[in-house]
Protein backbone atom coordinates (compact mmCIF):
# COMPACT_ATOMS: atom_id res chain seq x y z
CA UNK A 1 0.00 0.00 0.00
CA UNK A 2 1.13 3.46 -0.78
CA UNK A 3 0.05 7.02 0.01
CA UNK A 4 0.15 9.17 -3.10
CA UNK A 5 0.62 12.85 -2.20
CA UNK A 6 0.26 15.30 -5.07
CA UNK A 7 0.65 19.08 -5.04
CA UNK A 8 -1.20 20.64 -7.99
CA UNK A 9 -2.42 23.98 -9.31
CA UNK A 10 -5.79 25.04 -7.85
CA UNK A 11 -7.18 25.63 -11.34
CA UNK A 12 -6.35 22.02 -12.23
CA UNK A 13 -8.22 20.43 -9.32
CA UNK A 14 -11.36 19.73 -11.31
CA UNK A 15 -9.38 18.12 -14.12
CA UNK A 16 -7.49 15.94 -11.64
CA UNK A 17 -10.70 14.87 -9.90
CA UNK A 18 -12.18 13.96 -13.27
CA UNK A 19 -9.12 11.94 -14.27
CA UNK A 20 -9.02 10.11 -10.92
CA UNK A 21 -12.69 9.27 -11.26
CA UNK A 22 -12.06 7.82 -14.71
CA UNK A 23 -9.15 5.80 -13.28
CA UNK A 24 -11.58 4.45 -10.69
CA UNK A 25 -9.72 6.00 -7.79
CA UNK A 26 -12.44 6.86 -5.30
CA UNK A 27 -10.92 7.63 -1.89
CA UNK A 28 -9.07 10.89 -1.54
CA UNK A 29 -8.50 13.89 0.70
CA UNK A 30 -7.69 17.36 -0.58
CA UNK A 31 -6.45 20.44 1.26
CA UNK A 32 -5.63 23.97 0.21
CA UNK A 33 -1.97 24.69 0.88
CA UNK A 34 0.60 27.39 0.21
CA UNK A 35 4.15 26.76 -0.75
CA UNK A 36 7.10 27.45 -2.96
CA UNK A 37 8.67 25.21 -5.54
CA UNK A 38 11.15 27.38 -7.36
CA UNK A 39 8.65 28.93 -9.78
CA UNK A 40 8.91 32.60 -10.72
CA UNK A 41 7.39 34.97 -8.20
CA UNK A 42 4.42 37.05 -9.01
CA UNK A 43 4.70 40.81 -8.35
CA UNK A 44 1.72 42.76 -7.02
CA UNK A 45 1.42 46.50 -6.39
CA UNK A 46 -0.93 48.28 -4.03
CA UNK A 47 -0.74 52.09 -4.15
CA UNK A 48 2.98 52.11 -4.75
CA UNK A 49 3.72 49.28 -2.35
CA UNK A 50 5.25 46.56 -4.48
CA UNK A 51 5.40 43.06 -3.10
CA UNK A 52 6.69 39.76 -4.35
CA UNK A 53 4.39 36.90 -3.58
CA UNK A 54 6.67 34.03 -2.63
CA UNK A 55 4.08 31.52 -1.54
CA UNK A 56 1.73 30.19 -4.17
CA UNK A 57 -1.69 28.72 -3.60
CA UNK A 58 -1.73 25.01 -4.36
CA UNK A 59 -3.94 22.05 -3.59
CA UNK A 60 -2.63 18.85 -1.97
CA UNK A 61 -4.18 15.50 -2.76
CA UNK A 62 -3.66 12.59 -0.41
CA UNK A 63 -4.75 9.26 -1.80
CA UNK A 64 -4.27 5.89 -0.09
CA UNK A 65 -4.08 3.13 -2.71
CA UNK A 66 -3.23 -0.54 -2.97
CA UNK A 67 -0.01 -1.28 -4.89
CA UNK A 68 -1.73 -2.13 -8.16
CA UNK A 69 -3.38 1.28 -8.18
CA UNK A 70 -0.23 3.38 -7.71
CA UNK A 71 0.68 3.64 -11.39
CA UNK A 72 -2.82 4.47 -12.70
CA UNK A 73 -3.24 7.07 -9.96
CA UNK A 74 0.07 8.75 -10.75
CA UNK A 75 -0.66 8.65 -14.48
CA UNK A 76 -4.08 10.21 -14.00
CA UNK A 77 -2.71 13.08 -11.88
CA UNK A 78 0.27 13.63 -14.13
CA UNK A 79 -1.77 14.00 -17.30
CA UNK A 80 -4.55 16.07 -15.76
CA UNK A 81 -2.41 18.52 -13.78
CA UNK A 82 0.20 19.27 -16.43
CA UNK A 83 0.27 22.64 -18.18
CA UNK A 84 3.94 22.53 -19.16
CA UNK A 85 4.70 25.72 -17.24
CA UNK A 86 6.91 25.94 -14.15
CA UNK A 87 4.72 25.44 -11.08
CA UNK A 88 2.75 22.37 -12.10
CA UNK A 89 3.61 20.68 -8.81
CA UNK A 90 4.93 17.34 -7.54
CA UNK A 91 3.76 13.82 -6.83
CA UNK A 92 5.23 11.88 -3.90
CA UNK A 93 4.61 8.19 -3.28
CA UNK A 94 5.06 7.17 0.33
CA UNK A 95 5.05 3.70 1.88
CA UNK A 96 2.17 3.01 4.25
CA UNK A 97 2.45 0.67 7.23
CA UNK A 98 -1.16 0.11 8.10
CA UNK A 99 -4.60 1.27 6.99
CA UNK A 100 -7.81 0.80 8.95
CA UNK A 101 -11.36 1.58 7.92
CA UNK A 102 -12.90 3.04 11.04
CA UNK A 103 -16.46 1.90 10.38
CA UNK A 104 -15.73 -1.81 9.96
CA UNK A 105 -12.23 -2.30 11.30
CA UNK A 106 -11.12 -3.64 7.90
CA UNK A 107 -7.37 -3.47 7.39
CA UNK A 108 -4.94 -2.63 4.61
CA UNK A 109 -6.07 -3.40 1.05
CA UNK A 110 -9.63 -4.11 2.16
CA UNK A 111 -9.69 -0.72 3.85
CA UNK A 112 -8.72 1.18 0.68
CA UNK A 113 -11.06 -0.76 -1.59
CA UNK A 114 -14.10 1.36 -2.42
CA UNK A 115 -17.36 0.31 -0.83
CA UNK A 116 -19.34 -1.55 -3.46
Amino acid sequence: MKLVVAIVRPEKVNDVLEALYKAEVRGLTISRVQGHGGETDEVQTYRGTTVKVELHEKVRFEIGVSDSFVAPTVRAIMSAARTGEVGDGKIFVLPVEKVYRIRTGEEDTAAVTPVA
Binding site: K12, V43, L55, T83, E85
Partner: protein, 455 residues
Amino acid sequence: MKKLRLLGALAVGAGSVALAQDPELSAADTAWMLVATGLVLLMTPALAFFYGGLVRSKSALNTMMMSFVALGFVGVAWALVGYSIALSPGGNNFIGDLHFAFLHGVSLENKGAVAAITIPHLLWMAFQGTFCIITAALVSGSIVERMRFPAYLLFMTLWSVAVYAPLAKWVWGGGFLADLGAWDFAGGTVVHINAGISGLVAALVLGSRKDFGRQAILPHNVPFVLLGAALLWFGWFGFNAGSAWGASQSASIAFVNTMLAPAATLVMWALLDLTRTGKVTAVGVATAIVVGLVVITPAAGYVSATSALLMGAIGAFPSYFVMLWRARSRLDDSLDVFAGHGIGGMTGAILTGVFGQKVIAGVEVGYFNGLLAGNPQQVLIQAFAVLIAVGYSALMTFILLKLVGVITPLRASAKDEATGMDVTQHGEEGYTSGEGAILVLESGEPRGKPAAAKG
Protein backbone atom coordinates in the same frame (compact mmCIF):
# COMPACT_ATOMS: atom_id res chain seq x y z
CA MET B 1 -48.43 71.62 -16.27
CA LYS B 2 -45.00 70.71 -17.54
CA LYS B 3 -45.13 68.98 -20.87
CA LEU B 4 -41.66 69.75 -21.89
CA ARG B 5 -40.47 66.80 -23.86
CA LEU B 6 -38.67 67.21 -27.12
CA LEU B 7 -39.41 70.06 -29.42
CA GLY B 8 -39.33 67.56 -32.24
CA ALA B 9 -41.62 65.15 -30.43
CA LEU B 10 -44.19 67.86 -29.81
CA ALA B 11 -44.55 68.26 -33.53
CA VAL B 12 -45.71 64.66 -33.93
CA GLY B 13 -49.22 64.34 -35.28
CA ALA B 14 -50.54 67.42 -33.55
CA GLY B 15 -49.58 69.77 -36.36
CA SER B 16 -46.45 71.79 -35.71
CA VAL B 17 -46.75 72.96 -32.15
CA ALA B 18 -43.44 74.65 -31.58
CA LEU B 19 -42.72 76.16 -28.21
CA ALA B 20 -42.65 79.91 -28.44
CA GLN B 21 -39.79 80.23 -26.00
CA ASP B 22 -37.71 78.32 -23.50
CA PRO B 23 -39.44 77.75 -20.18
CA GLU B 24 -38.19 79.39 -17.00
CA LEU B 25 -35.32 77.94 -15.00
CA SER B 26 -36.80 76.18 -11.98
CA ALA B 27 -35.01 75.88 -8.64
CA ALA B 28 -37.18 72.96 -7.58
CA ASP B 29 -36.49 71.02 -10.77
CA THR B 30 -32.79 71.79 -10.47
CA ALA B 31 -32.72 70.51 -6.89
CA TRP B 32 -34.30 67.20 -7.84
CA MET B 33 -32.12 66.76 -10.91
CA LEU B 34 -28.93 67.38 -8.91
CA VAL B 35 -29.95 64.52 -6.64
CA ALA B 36 -31.14 62.30 -9.49
CA THR B 37 -27.83 62.70 -11.32
CA GLY B 38 -25.95 61.59 -8.20
CA LEU B 39 -28.34 58.64 -7.82
CA VAL B 40 -27.78 57.43 -11.38
CA LEU B 41 -24.01 57.78 -11.03
CA LEU B 42 -24.19 55.52 -7.96
CA MET B 43 -25.73 52.79 -10.10
CA THR B 44 -22.43 52.05 -11.81
CA PRO B 45 -20.53 51.16 -8.60
CA ALA B 46 -23.71 49.30 -7.58
CA LEU B 47 -23.48 47.30 -10.78
CA ALA B 48 -19.83 46.57 -9.94
CA PHE B 49 -20.98 44.88 -6.72
CA PHE B 50 -23.81 43.05 -8.48
CA TYR B 51 -21.50 41.70 -11.17
CA GLY B 52 -18.49 41.28 -8.88
CA GLY B 53 -20.39 39.02 -6.52
CA LEU B 54 -21.52 36.79 -9.37
CA VAL B 55 -18.05 35.81 -10.58
CA ARG B 56 -15.32 33.63 -9.07
CA SER B 57 -13.10 35.25 -6.44
CA LYS B 58 -10.09 35.19 -8.75
CA SER B 59 -11.89 37.60 -11.11
CA ALA B 60 -13.73 39.76 -8.59
CA LEU B 61 -11.54 42.85 -9.01
CA ASN B 62 -11.37 42.57 -12.78
CA THR B 63 -15.16 42.35 -13.02
CA MET B 64 -15.69 45.30 -10.66
CA MET B 65 -13.05 47.31 -12.48
CA MET B 66 -14.92 46.88 -15.75
CA SER B 67 -17.74 48.92 -14.25
CA PHE B 68 -15.60 51.36 -12.25
CA VAL B 69 -13.43 52.43 -15.18
CA ALA B 70 -16.57 53.42 -17.11
CA LEU B 71 -16.97 56.24 -14.57
CA GLY B 72 -13.75 57.68 -15.95
CA PHE B 73 -13.32 56.64 -19.57
CA VAL B 74 -16.96 56.89 -20.63
CA GLY B 75 -17.51 60.01 -18.51
CA VAL B 76 -14.65 61.79 -20.27
CA ALA B 77 -15.68 60.55 -23.73
CA TRP B 78 -19.22 61.78 -23.06
CA ALA B 79 -18.04 65.28 -22.12
CA LEU B 80 -15.65 65.53 -25.07
CA VAL B 81 -17.79 64.17 -27.92
CA GLY B 82 -20.51 61.74 -26.83
CA TYR B 83 -22.93 64.37 -25.56
CA SER B 84 -22.63 66.38 -28.74
CA ILE B 85 -23.20 63.40 -31.02
CA ALA B 86 -26.17 62.27 -28.94
CA LEU B 87 -27.97 65.45 -28.00
CA SER B 88 -26.90 68.43 -30.06
CA PRO B 89 -29.77 70.17 -31.84
CA GLY B 90 -27.84 70.21 -35.10
CA GLY B 91 -26.91 67.29 -37.33
CA ASN B 92 -29.76 65.29 -38.82
CA ASN B 93 -32.29 62.70 -37.70
CA PHE B 94 -29.65 60.02 -37.32
CA ILE B 95 -26.63 61.62 -35.75
CA GLY B 96 -25.82 64.85 -33.98
CA ASP B 97 -22.95 67.12 -34.91
CA LEU B 98 -19.93 68.37 -32.99
CA HIS B 99 -21.61 71.60 -31.95
CA PHE B 100 -21.25 70.79 -28.23
CA ALA B 101 -17.88 69.01 -28.50
CA PHE B 102 -15.64 69.70 -25.49
CA LEU B 103 -18.80 71.13 -23.88
CA HIS B 104 -18.45 74.23 -26.03
CA GLY B 105 -21.60 76.30 -25.61
CA VAL B 106 -23.10 74.09 -22.89
CA SER B 107 -24.06 76.74 -20.38
CA LEU B 108 -25.49 77.06 -16.91
CA GLU B 109 -28.66 78.53 -18.39
CA ASN B 110 -31.54 76.29 -19.36
CA LYS B 111 -31.15 77.20 -23.00
CA GLY B 112 -29.59 75.64 -26.04
CA ALA B 113 -30.36 71.99 -25.24
CA VAL B 114 -32.20 69.83 -27.76
CA ALA B 115 -35.13 69.55 -25.35
CA ALA B 116 -37.06 72.23 -23.53
CA ILE B 117 -35.67 71.95 -20.01
CA THR B 118 -36.07 73.92 -16.80
CA ILE B 119 -32.66 73.06 -15.34
CA PRO B 120 -29.14 74.24 -16.25
CA HIS B 121 -28.03 72.82 -19.59
CA LEU B 122 -24.77 71.58 -18.06
CA LEU B 123 -26.65 69.62 -15.40
CA TRP B 124 -28.80 68.01 -18.08
CA MET B 125 -25.63 67.02 -19.92
CA ALA B 126 -24.27 65.42 -16.74
CA PHE B 127 -27.54 63.60 -16.06
CA GLN B 128 -27.54 62.16 -19.57
CA GLY B 129 -23.87 61.24 -19.14
CA THR B 130 -24.59 59.03 -16.14
CA PHE B 131 -26.87 56.95 -18.41
CA CYS B 132 -24.12 56.49 -20.96
CA ILE B 133 -21.68 55.42 -18.22
CA ILE B 134 -23.88 52.68 -16.79
CA THR B 135 -24.93 51.39 -20.21
CA ALA B 136 -21.31 50.81 -21.20
CA ALA B 137 -20.67 49.11 -17.85
CA LEU B 138 -23.71 46.84 -18.31
CA VAL B 139 -22.19 45.31 -21.44
CA SER B 140 -19.20 44.02 -19.46
CA GLY B 141 -21.34 41.37 -17.76
CA SER B 142 -21.33 39.30 -20.93
CA ILE B 143 -17.58 38.99 -21.27
CA VAL B 144 -16.25 38.73 -17.71
CA GLU B 145 -13.28 36.54 -16.76
CA ARG B 146 -11.72 36.41 -20.24
CA MET B 147 -11.24 39.80 -21.92
CA ARG B 148 -7.89 41.58 -21.83
CA PHE B 149 -8.32 44.80 -19.91
CA PRO B 150 -6.63 47.17 -22.39
CA ALA B 151 -8.85 45.79 -25.18
CA TYR B 152 -11.88 46.27 -22.94
CA LEU B 153 -10.99 49.89 -22.20
CA LEU B 154 -10.66 50.71 -25.88
CA PHE B 155 -13.85 48.87 -26.82
CA MET B 156 -15.93 50.43 -24.06
CA THR B 157 -14.80 53.98 -24.84
CA LEU B 158 -15.42 53.64 -28.58
CA TRP B 159 -18.73 51.90 -27.92
CA SER B 160 -20.01 54.77 -25.78
CA VAL B 161 -19.48 57.18 -28.66
CA ALA B 162 -20.32 55.00 -31.68
CA VAL B 163 -23.20 52.90 -30.34
CA TYR B 164 -24.76 54.63 -27.34
CA ALA B 165 -24.66 58.21 -28.60
CA PRO B 166 -26.46 57.66 -31.94
CA LEU B 167 -29.17 55.54 -30.28
CA ALA B 168 -29.68 58.27 -27.69
CA LYS B 169 -29.99 60.73 -30.58
CA TRP B 170 -32.71 58.66 -32.28
CA VAL B 171 -34.81 58.31 -29.16
CA TRP B 172 -34.17 61.43 -27.04
CA GLY B 173 -32.36 63.82 -29.34
CA GLY B 174 -35.19 64.48 -31.79
CA GLY B 175 -34.04 61.66 -34.04
CA PHE B 176 -36.05 59.48 -36.38
CA LEU B 177 -37.45 57.08 -33.76
CA ALA B 178 -38.84 60.01 -31.79
CA ASP B 179 -40.34 61.38 -35.01
CA LEU B 180 -42.04 58.05 -35.60
CA GLY B 181 -43.69 58.31 -32.20
CA ALA B 182 -41.75 55.57 -30.41
CA TRP B 183 -41.70 56.33 -26.69
CA ASP B 184 -38.97 55.44 -24.25
CA PHE B 185 -39.26 57.21 -20.93
CA ALA B 186 -35.94 56.37 -19.31
CA GLY B 187 -34.00 54.16 -21.67
CA GLY B 188 -35.53 50.74 -22.28
CA THR B 189 -34.25 50.91 -25.83
CA VAL B 190 -31.22 53.15 -25.50
CA VAL B 191 -29.87 51.55 -22.34
CA HIS B 192 -31.19 48.04 -21.84
CA ILE B 193 -31.93 46.58 -25.25
CA ASN B 194 -28.73 48.23 -26.45
CA ALA B 195 -26.59 46.76 -23.65
CA GLY B 196 -28.29 43.36 -23.84
CA ILE B 197 -27.74 42.94 -27.58
CA SER B 198 -24.19 44.31 -27.45
CA GLY B 199 -23.44 41.88 -24.63
CA LEU B 200 -24.84 38.98 -26.61
CA VAL B 201 -22.73 39.85 -29.65
CA ALA B 202 -19.63 40.40 -27.50
CA ALA B 203 -20.10 36.99 -25.84
CA LEU B 204 -20.34 35.38 -29.29
CA VAL B 205 -17.32 37.23 -30.70
CA LEU B 206 -15.10 36.51 -27.69
CA GLY B 207 -16.29 32.95 -27.20
CA SER B 208 -17.01 31.29 -23.89
CA ARG B 209 -14.77 30.93 -20.87
CA LYS B 210 -12.50 27.87 -20.88
CA ASP B 211 -14.27 26.37 -17.88
CA PHE B 212 -17.78 27.17 -19.11
CA GLY B 213 -19.84 24.00 -19.36
CA ARG B 214 -16.89 21.94 -18.07
CA GLN B 215 -17.04 22.78 -14.41
CA ALA B 216 -19.28 24.64 -12.00
CA ILE B 217 -18.61 28.38 -12.01
CA LEU B 218 -20.27 29.67 -8.87
CA PRO B 219 -20.87 33.21 -7.57
CA HIS B 220 -18.16 33.95 -4.99
CA ASN B 221 -20.11 36.49 -2.91
CA VAL B 222 -23.90 36.43 -2.98
CA PRO B 223 -24.19 39.17 -0.30
CA PHE B 224 -22.37 41.45 -2.80
CA VAL B 225 -25.01 40.57 -5.38
CA LEU B 226 -27.79 41.57 -2.98
CA LEU B 227 -25.93 44.77 -2.02
CA GLY B 228 -25.54 45.63 -5.69
CA ALA B 229 -29.22 44.99 -6.40
CA ALA B 230 -30.24 47.17 -3.46
CA LEU B 231 -28.04 50.07 -4.56
CA LEU B 232 -29.17 49.65 -8.17
CA TRP B 233 -32.80 49.95 -7.10
CA PHE B 234 -32.00 53.06 -5.04
CA GLY B 235 -30.15 54.64 -7.93
CA TRP B 236 -32.91 53.66 -10.34
CA PHE B 237 -35.27 56.11 -8.65
CA GLY B 238 -32.99 58.81 -10.06
CA PHE B 239 -32.82 56.98 -13.38
CA ASN B 240 -36.59 56.75 -13.90
CA ALA B 241 -38.03 59.62 -11.87
CA GLY B 242 -35.15 61.83 -13.02
CA SER B 243 -36.15 61.14 -16.61
CA ALA B 244 -39.10 63.47 -16.08
CA TRP B 245 -36.33 66.13 -16.08
CA GLY B 246 -38.01 67.95 -13.22
CA ALA B 247 -39.72 67.67 -9.83
CA SER B 248 -43.17 67.01 -11.21
CA GLN B 249 -46.23 64.78 -11.19
CA SER B 250 -44.59 62.91 -14.05
CA ALA B 251 -41.54 62.26 -11.84
CA SER B 252 -43.86 61.10 -9.06
CA ILE B 253 -45.64 58.49 -11.15
CA ALA B 254 -42.29 57.29 -12.50
CA PHE B 255 -40.98 57.04 -8.94
CA VAL B 256 -43.98 55.04 -7.72
CA ASN B 257 -43.83 52.72 -10.74
CA THR B 258 -40.11 52.17 -10.05
CA MET B 259 -41.08 50.94 -6.61
CA LEU B 260 -44.02 48.77 -7.68
CA ALA B 261 -42.88 47.01 -10.85
CA PRO B 262 -39.79 45.33 -9.34
CA ALA B 263 -41.90 44.37 -6.32
CA ALA B 264 -44.25 42.45 -8.61
CA THR B 265 -41.35 40.91 -10.52
CA LEU B 266 -39.75 39.79 -7.26
CA VAL B 267 -42.98 38.06 -6.20
CA MET B 268 -43.45 36.32 -9.56
CA TRP B 269 -39.80 35.26 -9.72
CA ALA B 270 -39.90 33.89 -6.18
CA LEU B 271 -43.08 31.94 -6.99
CA LEU B 272 -41.52 30.60 -10.20
CA ASP B 273 -38.46 29.48 -8.23
CA LEU B 274 -40.67 27.98 -5.55
CA THR B 275 -42.86 25.96 -7.91
CA ARG B 276 -39.92 24.81 -10.02
CA THR B 277 -37.40 23.86 -7.33
CA GLY B 278 -39.15 24.27 -3.98
CA LYS B 279 -36.67 26.98 -2.94
CA VAL B 280 -36.51 30.76 -3.35
CA THR B 281 -32.97 31.82 -4.20
CA ALA B 282 -31.07 34.98 -3.23
CA VAL B 283 -29.44 35.38 -6.62
CA GLY B 284 -32.91 34.91 -8.10
CA VAL B 285 -34.39 37.68 -5.97
CA ALA B 286 -31.54 40.06 -6.81
CA THR B 287 -31.97 39.25 -10.50
CA ALA B 288 -35.74 39.72 -10.30
CA ILE B 289 -35.32 43.22 -8.87
CA VAL B 290 -33.09 44.23 -11.76
CA VAL B 291 -35.38 42.63 -14.37
CA GLY B 292 -38.42 44.43 -12.91
CA LEU B 293 -36.54 47.73 -13.03
CA VAL B 294 -35.53 47.09 -16.63
CA VAL B 295 -39.09 46.27 -17.67
CA ILE B 296 -40.60 49.42 -16.16
CA THR B 297 -37.84 51.75 -17.40
CA PRO B 298 -39.33 52.61 -20.82
CA ALA B 299 -42.83 52.97 -19.36
CA ALA B 300 -42.08 54.61 -16.01
CA GLY B 301 -43.81 57.95 -16.67
CA TYR B 302 -46.37 56.68 -19.15
CA VAL B 303 -48.38 54.05 -17.26
CA SER B 304 -50.55 53.87 -14.15
CA ALA B 305 -49.41 52.26 -10.91
CA THR B 306 -51.60 49.19 -11.46
CA SER B 307 -50.22 48.82 -14.97
CA ALA B 308 -46.71 48.96 -13.48
CA LEU B 309 -47.59 46.06 -11.17
CA LEU B 310 -48.89 44.09 -14.15
CA MET B 311 -45.84 44.92 -16.25
CA GLY B 312 -43.51 43.82 -13.46
CA ALA B 313 -45.38 40.55 -13.03
CA ILE B 314 -45.53 39.78 -16.76
CA GLY B 315 -41.92 40.83 -17.21
CA ALA B 316 -40.64 38.09 -14.92
CA PHE B 317 -41.56 35.27 -17.32
CA PRO B 318 -39.53 35.89 -20.51
CA SER B 319 -36.30 36.70 -18.66
CA TYR B 320 -36.71 33.80 -16.22
CA PHE B 321 -37.09 31.20 -18.95
CA VAL B 322 -34.45 32.67 -21.24
CA MET B 323 -32.01 32.49 -18.31
CA LEU B 324 -32.88 28.84 -17.71
CA TRP B 325 -32.29 28.08 -21.37
CA ARG B 326 -29.08 30.12 -21.52
CA ALA B 327 -27.46 28.34 -18.59
CA ARG B 328 -27.87 25.02 -20.38
CA SER B 329 -26.77 26.29 -23.78
CA ARG B 330 -23.28 26.83 -25.14
CA LEU B 331 -23.75 30.58 -24.96
CA ASP B 332 -21.54 32.08 -22.27
CA ASP B 333 -23.28 35.42 -21.80
CA SER B 334 -21.74 35.06 -18.37
CA LEU B 335 -23.96 37.29 -16.24
CA ASP B 336 -27.06 37.13 -18.44
CA VAL B 337 -26.97 40.66 -19.79
CA PHE B 338 -29.03 39.50 -22.77
CA ALA B 339 -31.64 37.61 -20.75
CA GLY B 340 -31.93 40.32 -18.10
CA HIS B 341 -31.49 43.56 -19.99
CA GLY B 342 -32.05 42.56 -23.61
CA ILE B 343 -35.16 40.44 -23.12
CA GLY B 344 -36.40 42.57 -20.20
CA GLY B 345 -35.89 45.73 -22.26
CA MET B 346 -37.83 44.31 -25.21
CA THR B 347 -40.65 43.16 -22.95
CA GLY B 348 -40.80 46.62 -21.38
CA ALA B 349 -40.68 48.47 -24.69
CA ILE B 350 -43.54 46.41 -26.17
CA LEU B 351 -45.63 46.59 -22.98
CA THR B 352 -45.13 50.36 -22.98
CA GLY B 353 -47.12 50.35 -26.22
CA VAL B 354 -49.77 48.20 -24.51
CA PHE B 355 -50.23 50.01 -21.21
CA GLY B 356 -49.36 53.63 -22.09
CA GLN B 357 -52.04 56.18 -21.25
CA LYS B 358 -52.27 59.96 -21.50
CA VAL B 359 -54.26 60.50 -18.33
CA ILE B 360 -52.74 58.82 -15.28
CA ALA B 361 -54.45 59.03 -11.89
CA GLY B 362 -56.62 61.95 -12.98
CA VAL B 363 -53.83 64.06 -14.43
CA GLU B 364 -52.65 64.27 -18.01
CA VAL B 365 -48.96 63.45 -17.53
CA GLY B 366 -48.61 60.82 -20.26
CA TYR B 367 -47.94 61.66 -23.89
CA PHE B 368 -49.68 58.92 -25.81
CA ASN B 369 -52.30 56.21 -25.56
CA GLY B 370 -51.35 52.59 -25.98
CA LEU B 371 -53.24 49.48 -27.03
CA LEU B 372 -55.46 49.27 -23.96
CA ALA B 373 -56.35 52.94 -24.25
CA GLY B 374 -57.52 52.35 -27.82
CA ASN B 375 -54.35 52.86 -29.86
CA PRO B 376 -53.14 49.42 -31.05
CA GLN B 377 -50.78 51.00 -33.56
CA GLN B 378 -48.48 52.08 -30.72
CA VAL B 379 -47.41 48.45 -30.15
CA LEU B 380 -46.18 48.22 -33.73
CA ILE B 381 -44.26 51.49 -33.44
CA GLN B 382 -42.61 50.26 -30.23
CA ALA B 383 -41.74 46.93 -31.87
CA PHE B 384 -40.20 48.74 -34.83
CA ALA B 385 -38.02 50.82 -32.50
CA VAL B 386 -36.91 47.59 -30.78
CA LEU B 387 -35.92 46.06 -34.12
CA ILE B 388 -33.93 49.13 -35.12
CA ALA B 389 -32.10 49.17 -31.78
CA VAL B 390 -31.34 45.44 -31.98
CA GLY B 391 -30.00 45.70 -35.53
CA TYR B 392 -27.84 48.77 -34.97
CA SER B 393 -26.48 47.58 -31.64
CA ALA B 394 -25.56 44.13 -32.96
CA LEU B 395 -23.92 45.36 -36.14
CA MET B 396 -21.90 48.16 -34.55
CA THR B 397 -20.73 46.05 -31.62
CA PHE B 398 -19.52 43.38 -34.03
CA ILE B 399 -17.63 45.93 -36.15
CA LEU B 400 -16.08 47.62 -33.09
CA LEU B 401 -14.90 44.35 -31.56
CA LYS B 402 -13.32 43.29 -34.84
CA LEU B 403 -11.63 46.69 -35.07
CA VAL B 404 -10.30 46.55 -31.50
CA GLY B 405 -9.20 42.96 -32.15
CA VAL B 406 -7.02 44.16 -35.00
CA ILE B 407 -5.35 46.74 -32.75
CA THR B 408 -4.84 44.52 -29.69
CA PRO B 409 -5.80 40.92 -28.79
CA LEU B 410 -9.26 40.68 -27.24
CA ARG B 411 -8.82 37.55 -25.18
CA ALA B 412 -6.53 36.77 -22.30
CA SER B 413 -4.40 33.64 -22.75
CA ALA B 414 -5.77 30.34 -21.47
CA LYS B 415 -3.08 30.37 -18.78
CA ASP B 416 -4.02 33.87 -17.58
CA GLU B 417 -7.67 32.91 -17.57
CA ALA B 418 -6.92 29.85 -15.44
CA THR B 419 -4.74 31.81 -13.01
CA GLY B 420 -7.42 34.47 -12.65
CA MET B 421 -7.94 37.88 -14.19
CA ASP B 422 -7.19 39.86 -11.01
CA VAL B 423 -3.55 38.84 -10.80
CA THR B 424 -2.90 38.71 -14.53
CA GLN B 425 -4.70 41.89 -15.61
CA HIS B 426 -4.26 44.10 -12.57
CA GLY B 427 -1.41 42.64 -10.49
CA GLU B 428 -3.66 42.64 -7.44
CA GLU B 429 -5.89 40.19 -5.65
CA GLY B 430 -9.31 40.87 -4.24
CA TYR B 431 -8.71 38.77 -1.18
CA THR B 432 -5.08 38.57 -0.07
CA SER B 433 -3.88 36.52 2.84
CA GLY B 434 -0.79 38.72 3.15
CA GLU B 435 1.26 35.62 3.82
CA GLY B 436 4.29 34.96 1.71
CA ALA B 437 4.48 38.52 0.36
CA ILE B 438 7.91 40.10 0.51
CA LEU B 439 8.32 43.86 0.26
CA VAL B 440 10.31 44.98 -2.77
CA LEU B 441 12.23 48.19 -2.17
CA GLU B 442 12.46 50.32 -5.29
CA SER B 443 15.78 51.96 -4.42
CA GLY B 444 17.49 48.72 -3.57
CA GLU B 445 18.44 50.32 -0.27
CA PRO B 446 16.80 48.66 2.72
CA ARG B 447 14.63 51.21 4.48
CA GLY B 448 15.49 52.67 7.87
CA LYS B 449 19.17 51.83 7.70
CA PRO B 450 20.88 53.67 10.53
CA ALA B 451 23.55 56.13 9.43
CA ALA B 452 27.04 55.00 10.20
CA ALA B 453 28.27 56.61 13.39
CA LYS B 454 31.08 59.06 12.81
CA GLY B 455 33.81 59.11 15.42
